[in-house]
């Protein structure tokens, strides 16, 4: 009789251990997906940053006097590229800072594009048009990758906060990932339209 109950306890422990391993592994997979989608977010922001020198040079060729606008773009870019966020242990504050810096680029770029309205020759320039199309596509890509990141983060957060997985998450130190917040009117990325 005693032997039987021992076996039952051993079986129960085995079941729990197997379950814990499975839960832990799915958390690792999900966190990895969050990291991957974060890398994509960084890629598309980098893509936008890479467009800036070309864009500034093109606009400069037609509108030399708008120095303050050029400076604003270049400074915003320098500031934003200095901020890096590690997806493994990112906090809401870090993401906010990142987002703020990127939004500044967005705003500065919006003003740069708006310049073209007063320079018809610039507006008709093939190179400028091409850059504008690329910028527009990049803004769309940013929107897509940000949404993908939020989706992955939400999946991860929901999983680790649900009972009983939350026990394992607490033991293994998995923490809730922050989200990109919807942009407020003033910070909205420029909508480049023709």
């Amino acid at each position: 009789m005693k032997k039987k109950s021992t076996w039952i306890i051993i079986a129960a422990i085995a079941v729990i251990v197997i379950w814990a391993i499975k839960v832990n592994n799915s958390m690792v997979t999900m966190e990895e997906n969050v990291s991957k989608s974060w890398a994509n977010v960084e890629n598309v922001y980098q893509r936008r940053a890479d467009l800036i020198p070309n864009l500034v040079n093109t606009v400069k060729g037609y509108a030399q006097h708008e120095t303050s606008t050029f400076e604003a773009v270049v400074n915003a870019r320098a500031k934003a590229t200095s901020i890096t966020v590690n997806p493994e242990n990112m906090t809401a504050d870090q993401l906010k800072e990142f987002q703020k810096a990127q939004n500044e680029i967005g705003g500065a770029l919006g003003r740069l594009i708006a310049i073209s309205e007063s320079y018809p020759e610039l507006k008709a320039n093939e190179n400028f048009k091409e850059l504008q199309a690329q910028l527009e596509g990049t803004e769309n890509r940013i929107a897509v990758e940000r949404k993908n990141f939020n989706d992955e983060a939400s999946k991860f957060n929901t999983y680790i906060r649900k009972f009983p997985q939350s026990i394992i998450a607490g033991m293994r130190g998995f923490e809730k990932k922050p989200y990109f917040e919807a942009e407020e009117g003033a910070n909205k990325a420029p909508t480049v339209q023709f």
């Binding site: 048009k129 199309a133 596509g137 990049t138 890509r141 990758e145």
Partner: protein, 293 residues
């Protein structure tokens, strides 16, 4: 009474209005029913001739590059942001193969007066945003500005075809990837069957005395033939050691009273044209371009 009448009218009115605003889920990908068709034209904004020409252009594109296209021409859309709508539609249908993300979606909304391309991750290289924009500005927008939907869409489709065919893009695991898989399975089964036949043959030809595969059939005689069962005695001689052995063989023959077959019956009806095509679950990262006119 009055109340119900009002609500019935309201429901009808709502139905009438909502039928004209398309959500991404409302677009039926016609390509799934017929592999030669790509254009969803539910409101009949394009003429049938235009649809045929556009479909033909994208059939050529898929045949020679593997790029899968979905064209949607609608009135009003929800969400009313053209990029958002097109992206959702593209992801929902999964245009392009999931392995290569080589989908292309072209959306024209006459209500929002915008045209939008969505390029899958895989074809962003051959169809960069700037090129998409150029196609729209050169070939499509001038027509669309005058409400010439047919002309604009045909010109745009032809231009995209030119670019894609010239782009020397080819998706390796293109249309025949599924066929290759089937071929391998078929080959595997064939090999298995051949192997079995060889094994059975070797076993039947193995000399019980010296173990060599050298038995040769020297004679065959029928023992009995009755009620469709035929018994024969087969005599083998080993060409290696000269050992002689014999085996019985039972076989079944048709007595002619079994079935009155009426020849092979080829059933089913052909017609209705092409088979359904497929979209493979491609993903989109926001590539492409859009413009208003």
């Amino acid at each position: 009474m009055k109340k119900t009448l009002v609500s019935v009218i309201l429901i009808l009115l709502y139905g009438f209005i909502s039928a004209k605003v398309y959500k991404p889920a409302d677009i039926t990908p016609v390509h799934l029913q017929d592999r030669d068709r790509y254009t969803s034209n539910p409101d009949g904004i394009l003429s049938d001739q235009a649809v045929t020409r556009i479909d033909a252009a994208f059939r050529t594109v898929e045949d020679s590059t593997g790029v899968q296209t979905l064209v949607a021409v609608v009135g009003d859309i929800d969400p009313d942001d053209c990029f958002e709508f097109t992206h959702q539609l593209a992801e929902k249908v999964g245009v392009g193969r999931s392995s290569s993300n080589n989908g292309l979606v072209i959306m024209l909304s006459t209500g929002e007066r915008c045209v939008q391309f969505a390029t899958g991750y895989g074809i962003e290289g051959v169809l960069p945003d700037a090129i998409c924009k150029r196609v729209q500005e050169r070939y499509m927008n001038p027509h669309f500005a005058n409400d010439e939907w047919d002309e604009g869409m045909i010109a745009g489709a032809e231009a995209l075809k030119e670019i894609l065919l010239k782009g020397e893009y080819y998706d390796d695991d293109g249309d025949d990837s599924d066929a290759t898989g089937v071929l391998y399975v078929f080959l595997g089964i064939m090999l298995l069957i051949i192997g079995l036949v060889v094994a059975v043959y070797r076993k039947s030809r193995k000399c019980p005395k010296c173990g060599k595969i050298a038995l040769k059939q020297v004679s065959i005689s029928t023992i009995s033939k009755h009620n469709g069962v035929k018994k024969e005695l087969l005599t083998f001689k080993c060409s290696h050691c000269g050992f002689i052995t014999s085996r019985n063989r039972t076989s079944y023959y048709s007595t002619g009273t079994g079935s009155h077959g009426s020849g092979p019956h080829i059933g089913g009806s052909f017609g209705g044209g092409g088979f359904g095509g497929s979209y493979g679950g491609g993903h989109f990262g926001g590539g492409g371009a859009g413009s208003r006119f």
